[in-house]
């Protein structure tokens, strides 16, 4: 997610020096993807031997989990390959990143519904999140006194775009939640609904931080306020914490918790 987001951000905002960071995240994603798939094999046999059991892994491969694995591996490989090709390779990376994102649309509760437009909404939701996560590190890196001008500029351009994509992101999230949960009773009364409430609460905190950055710290930075860079940097650290909690909650929502019926 982070590597894809960084590539998108590099394309959208002409951010430089993202290669090392992106390769590291893409490699981590590759390793996590392979371990995750092997753990599926272990869950099928009940012991660690299942992680390398060809029969179990072959069985997993024949299901949507295998399809998702293929999309994610090919996507991440393209993403890394693109980074090796220099600036023009960014488009290859972006396509790879898109494929890796699409892999999320082939497993989980949304694809189970077999509603095409819902898959589309999920993809918009994921792409918007990727861009958001992708901006955090480049912006934090710039947020010091010597590069305050560049940080202010990047923050300002991102903020202008966020006005469009953040409402889209929220709208897509709301529609998907409504389709999956269906009623207030299910929202309050089931584990899935309650986890969703936790996720939304942390999203509200994240939105608060983002608003603070956009309306307060970035304008101050543009006006040359010396403390603003420090404030922005700290605020981005808190954003990271919120993002990690949101991603963990989402992992529980999409894999561990059953939908309210």
């Amino acid at each position: 997610m982070t590597s894809t987001g960084t590539v998108f951000v590099a394309l959208l905002f002409q951010v430089e020096n993202i290669r090392r960071l992106t390769v590291v995240f893409a490699m981590l994603a590759l390793i996590a993807t392979i371990i995750g798939f092997s753990l599926g094999g272990a869950a099928l046999t009940g012991d660690m031997g299942g992680m390398t059991d060809p029969e179990m892994l072959g069985l997993l491969w024949s299901t949507p989990v295998g399809t998702a694995l293929a999309y994610r591996l090919v996507g991440l490989a393209l993403l890394i390959l693109g980074l090796m090709l220099g600036r023009s390779g960014l488009w290859v990376s972006a396509i790879g990143g898109g494929l890796a994102l699409w892999s999320f649309a082939s497993v989980g509760h949304i694809p189970d519904r077999d509603i095409f437009w819902l898959d589309g909404l999920l993809l918009i939701h994921l792409a918007a999140i990727a861009v958001w996560i992708g901006i955090l590190t480049p912006l934090k890196r710039l947020a010091n006194i010597s590069t305050a001008k560049a940080a202010a500029d990047l923050g300002h351009r991102f903020g202008r775009m966020a006005v469009v994509f953040v409402p889209l992101l929220i709208l897509a999230g709301l529609v998907m939640s409504y389709v999956l949960v269906g009623s207030i009773a299910s929202l309050v009364g089931t584990g899935y609904g309650q986890a969703l409430i936790v996720k939304v609460a942390v999203v509200v905190v994240l939105l608060g931080l983002a608003a603070l950055n956009k309306l307060r710290f970035v304008p101050k930075l543009m006006n040359g306020d010396a403390h603003a860079a420090q404030h922005l940097s700290r605020s981005i650290s808190f954003e990271w914490v919120a993002v990690i909690i949101i991603l963990l909650t989402t992992a529980v929502l999409t894999s561990a918790l059953t939908l309210p019926s």
Binding site: L39, L44, T45, G46, M56, V65
Partner: protein, 113 residues
């Protein structure tokens, strides 16, 4: 160092499987008391599943039931079992739903003296 981490991840994954509770009914039923050891057990699922392991525990003995005769994703399994005498039989099953979700569960029944 990696082993405990992997094990705990596996437990997490397995816990996630329980949340999907896809079992419709079993023969003998869960916690049933029967007069004699059945020659086979039946597991009926709500959807199609491929069972990957069925372990039977009786007193201190544990044995895996033979799943070789099955292939593909089906919703009803009739699995032959061997007698270990009177007492409580605990059956632990694991499998894969056709949507790719690993699933698992347990049930037990008692054979009277």
């Amino acid at each position: 160092m990696t082993r405990p981490i992997l094990t705990s991840l596996m437990v997490l994954w397995a816990t996630s499987a329980f949340a999907h509770s896809p079992l419709n009914a079993t023969v003998p039923a869960n916690e049933a008391i029967v007069a004699e050891v059945p020659s086979e057990i039946v597991l009926g699922f709500k959807g199609n599943i491929r069972l990957t392991r069925v372990a039977m525990t009786h007193a201190v003995h544990e044995a895996d039931l033979d799943l070789d005769g099955f292939s593909g994703f089906i919703s009803e399994y009739t699995i032959p079992m061997q007698s270990m005498g009177a007492g409580t039989y605990q059956i632990e099953w694991r499998g894969l739903g056709d949507d790719g979700h690993p699933m698992s569960g347990t049930f037990s029944f008692t054979v009277q003296e």
